[in-house]
């Protein structure tokens, strides 16, 4: 089959620049939307998947496996665990055992009450959560806070409102921000940390929420499970930290489904619009296409050239759309459970670009078929 020259399809794009720009603009919108949807889902999934350390185990109160905020663990248990369980990671004799309090508290920011996720910690928290890096200020002391980089988004206040040195009120008492931290790609990013003992006093509770510990390379979670069965009086249950956050991931499945459904509906509408636009575009060139057939080019070769034009238009739109959403990478998104950053990565871009090419291909083929099936003589006489 004799093909049309590559130049022919490329030059045709500039014969009607307005039409090309319109088509590319539509595809750019679809690409931008799909990449954003993928970045949202991947950001949410990633923050939950990467929060738990691979060798971290979380001890919760028996019966509270689904929510660390509902869990209650007796205050002295962390010491018993550190002394009893073999295979806990240590550094300079300090075991990687972090007693923690997780609680949602109402914070008063400039007279407005907002809910925030607090984590009461000790120094051991920085051992078991190595993703956490203090980027400004220092670790909090009594009456001080350490805020995550997405904490402001979680509170729905400007980032500078949680600058080091400023303060917020909790239960009528001012707390000063002593530092800021980041824990990229994890839900910790949206948390506010403070001293565990201070938080216990502030929340008038006697118990911990849980204990996070890191196992040494050769240790196994089974030893923790065994410990919880040997010390039934402590009423504990051991979960791999990643397993705990995987449960939260399942809990958010409807949100992800809603995002994908919206994106796919828009993409479907764009596909139908694309077919219509392509048909109008090709229909205006029926006599030109018929001339090519009269010159001896097969229908397949002409269709291939039309698909080439459509794909180049789609590619142009896809790249523009992808370029438009690239700056969204890392942008904080506030959800009920906290906040996370959009993740515009290779997979999200590939999805958007692939879908754009799909729109180009699927949009052009039916239009090309409808234009090329006409009788040659009738097509040559068409207006």
């Amino acid at each position: 089959m004799k093909l049309l020259p590559w130049d022919y399809g490329v030059r045709n794009l500039l014969r009607a620049p307005g039409r090309t720009a319109l088509g590319a603009g539509g595809v750019a919108l679809v690409t931008a939307l799909l990449v954003t949807a993928a970045a949202f889902v991947r950001g949410m999934n990633g923050s939950l998947a990467e929060t738990g350390g691979l060798r971290n185990v979380i001890l919760l109160g028996a019966g509270s496996e689904d929510s660390v905020e509902r869990s209650e663990v007796k205050a002295g248990v962390a010491g018993i665990v550190a002394a009893s369980v073999p295979g806990i990671e240590e550094r300079l004799g300090v075991p990687y055992v972090s007693p923690e309090i997780n609680v949602a508290l109402v914070v008063n920011v400039d007279g407005q009450e907002r809910q925030a996720s607090f984590r009461g910690v000790t120094d051991a928290a920085y051992l078991v959560h190595p993703q956490v890096r203090i980027v400004e200020g220092r670790a909090p002391r009594a009456g001080e806070l350490l805020v995550g980089r997405f904490a402001a988004a979680r509170l729905d206040v400007p980032d500078e409102r949680l600058a080091v040195g400023r303060s917020v009120d909790i239960d009528g008492r001012p707390w000063t921000i002593a530092g800021r931290f980041e824990a990229p790609g994890t839900v910790l990013d949206a948390e506010i940390w403070c001293d565990a003992q201070e938080l216990r006093v502030a929340t008038r509770r006697e118990t911990l929420s849980g204990i996070v510990l890191t196992l040494a390379d050769d240790a196994q979670t089974d030893d923790l499970d065994l410990f919880t069965k040997q010390r039934l009086d402590l009423e504990l249950v051991a979960l791999p930290e990643r397993g705990y956050y995987a449960r939260l991931h399942d809990f958010l499945a409807p949100v992800r489904a809603m995002v994908w459904t919206t994106a796919l509906l828009v993409a479907g509408a764009a596909l139908l619009g694309g077919i219509d636009t392509m048909h109008a575009s090709f229909a205006a060139r029926i006599r030109e296409l018929a001339t090519l057939r009269a010159l001896g080019f097969a229908n397949g070769a002409i269709a291939l050239s039309l698909v080439q034009e459509a794909l180049l238009t789609a590619a142009l739109g896809a790249l523009v759309g992808a370029a438009c959403v690239l700056p969204l990478d890392g942008l904080a998104v506030r959800v009920s459970m906290g906040a996370f950053g959009l993740r515009v990565d290779g997979t999200a871009l590939a999805l958007g670009l692939g879908a754009a090419c799909g729109v180009g291909l699927l949009g052009s083929l039916p239009a090309a078929w409808r234009c090329l099936r006409m009788e040659l003589v009738a097509a040559l006489r068409a207006d």
Binding site: D7, V10, D222, L312, A350
Partner: protein, 181 residues
């Protein structure tokens, strides 16, 4: 071959689309497989063990080092067996009722005794483990072995190895008789 700048732009578009989507391969980690230990051949007894007492009664007097024979049901939590370790929890057969005893068919884990208070459950539960020469539980699961399953009634003879307080009793088993489901 004749090529125009327009052609080059189009080719660049196509190449950017194809080449711009690569992503570094994710790093994976693998768990170290643990060597599994075999359970002692004489562990499971065909005949009933003489002098088996209830768990609540045994907890009244047992001290570390004493030999004990108890009778109870496997249960006390959603997962009464320790995965990868020869250990399980045993609940009294007197005074506590599981959802199965209540005729509740909809409870997916009737062996967790969810209708009982935690205090009652802890007071009437003990831990059974099969240890190796190092005194630590063997790296083998008891679940499914010789009919050991949740809510199965078993008699266990062994030595009390841990008694840190009145609520905790760990029994190192040397003989187990599975009475039945």
């Amino acid at each position: 071959m004749r090529s125009s700048p327009l052609n080059l732009v189009a080719l660049a578009l196509a190449l950017a689309l194809v080449g711009g989507c690569s992503e570094s391969a994710p790093t994976t980690t693998s768990e170290t497989p643990s060597e599994k230990a075999a359970l002692p051949a004489e562990l499971f007894a065909a005949a009933s063990l003489a002098g088996a007492e209830d768990i609540g009664a045994a907890k009244e007097h047992a001290t570390v080092g004493t030999e004990l024979t108890v009778r109870g049901r496997i249960g006390g939590s959603k997962e009464p067996f320790v995965s990868g370790r020869a250990a399980l929890t045993l609940v009294t057969m007197e005074g506590l009722t599981s959802c199965k005893d209540l005729g509740e068919d909809h409870c997916p884990t009737p062996w967790d005794y969810c209708c009982e208070t935690r205090e009652q459950l802890v007071r009437n539960t003990l831990t059974v483990q099969v240890t190796g020469p190092d005194g630590r539980p063997l790296r083998a699961s008891l679940e499914g072995v010789h009919g050991l399953e949740p809510l199965a009634v078993v008699e266990v003879h062994g030595t009390v190895s841990s008694r840190p307080n009145a609520d905790v009793l760990v029994l190192d088993a040397d003989r187990i008789h599975v009475v039945g489901p």
